[in-house]
Symmetry: C2
């Protein structure tokens, strides 16, 4: 099963869902991994993923990690720290571990608490998502052209960071390096707070009012359709940074409210102007400019 | 220019931009109007619209309205009341006036204050938007299958309401009837507050953080790219209802924050579950289900 031109001879994917499956497909197609082993709890699901060609082999035993060079933990965010610690425990000292979690600092802290081997864990957050779940919807291009944030710790070695970087770059991703705390502070504002805001806005509308909602509501609240379990785990894992973001959002809404009731047209206008200016600087591969005045 | 099978022989569109132009095109194509007169300030722009076939004739004088059966005021929301009052003043008592404004109660109140002829004004809000502006982007299908809210006043006659309804239905729209206040209360929650929330979320992010924003940010803040002048006018015209909405949003965010910092997982989860349940009941012609866990 080995491939002499692959970046990695053998890679284990722990948690073969949409994310793990997409990493597996991309790693094979791009010659990043010679052989992909899927590791999970459900043998029937893993066998189906193997039959579909998403993984080459599988095991329900985390100890099977011992034969690979790199373990990529793709389980839900509230299980990542345990799974990383388990992967470290079951692998020799040459094996690296990375992950795909949306939150970093609390996972890093938990891994360091649970494992003496945490120097071999190089944390990562590939920024891509999909409306689908399950390896059946895995897509080799999910990560192509997207950003991956690496949040190495002082314990990581330069060569370990470089090897993990090679995995994510090999999937077609751009790389940025941040400290775990900086990652969580920024993602609180660019991802977690928008999700909370979208959910709060959706929660204020009653079903009988939905007939009077159009494209603005559709876009602004779209992420509120996301999995509540997933998002509960994410916000609880980033509660301090998110709380600071919520406070800033409440302050902004309070200032806007004051400007509105006091007829301070200049302040109302500059609020919208600042937002428009910032939003116009955002560019995304999938993005189309869009305005609405429904 | 008359057409014996048209619902209206002659219709005036006051303000020939994207909205007025789209109404004009749809009214002609669907046989709703035999002849469309454009009324505006800029003769060169109106001549260009005529050349493009968006309107049949034009005038820069509001007095030209006197020859039509129906005037549709499609100017920006902060000019609608003045333009409606002017249309009423320049037309005989058989002529009806309607509009396309996103806010209703304050426009109705201003028209009633400015004109003794307000019984002939049947307020309307067609819910459709576009990222483009100007009659060059007018689209005969913009309103097809969309909702139009009529907000008749006690002074309106049944026959006047029926005639105005026939215009909007003739463009392919579904009709709902609400009192002006009810319209503004509901649209504050389904449109104006989401816009303010999107702008506030965008305004918390700095340009250097945008690299770490992905599909969730893209969707949630998309409407913040909208025209600040337009939105300043809309929120100022609906400030009381919007302020109540902002207060409710702040209360919701405050409750979520408390649940988060107190580790009340059940409350955090039920917040996301309620939002997901409501959002899953929203269906839109253009809408695709979409989740993200970037």
């Amino acid at each position: 099963m080995s491939n002499s031109v692959s970046t990695f001879d053998r890679v284990a994917i722990m948690g073969v869902g949409l994310i793990g499956g997409s990493i597996a497909l991309a790693a094979k197609q791009r010659g990043v991994a010679g052989c992909i082993m899927g590791i999970g709890r459900d043998a029937a699901r893993l066998a189906a993923a193997q039959k579909l060609g998403v993984i080459d082999e599988f095991s329900t035993s985390p100890e099977a990690c011992s034969t690979v060079e790199l373990v990529v933990v793709c389980t839900p965010v509230n299980r990542i720290a345990d799974d990383v610690a388990q992967a470290l425990q079951n692998t020799p000292e040459t094996v690296l571990v990375t992950d795909a979690g949306s939150v970093k600092a609390s996972i890093v802290a938990d891994v360091e608490r649970q494992s003496s081997q945490s120097a071999r864990y190089v944390p990562a957050h590939p920024l891509a998502g999909s409306h689908s779940t399950g390896f059946e919807h895995a897509n080799a291009d999910l990560y192509n052209g997207r950003l991956c944030v690496l949040t190495p710790t002082p314990a990581n070695t330069a060569s370990g960071i470089a090897r993990v970087r090679a995995l994510w770059e090999g999937l077609g991703m751009r790389i940025q390096v941040l400290a775990p705390d900086a990652h969580d502070r920024i993602l609180a504002l660019t991802s977690h707070l928008p999700h909370v805001g979208a959910a709060a806005l959706a929660d204020l509308v009653t079903p009988d009012q939905l007939e009077f909602a159009a494209t603005g509501f559709r876009d602004t609240t779209r992420v509120a359709a996301g999995d509540p379990e997933l998002w509960t785990a994410i916000v609880e894992r980033n509660s301090a940074q998110l709380t600071a973001g919520i406070d800033a959002l409440i302050d902004s809404l309070t200032a806007f409210r004051e400007a509105l009731i006091n007829n301070q047209t200049e302040n109302v206008r500059s609020f919208f102007q600042r937002a428009q200016r910032l939003r116009s600087q955002f560019h995304d591969a999938d993005s189309q400019p869009h305005q609405s005045h429904e």
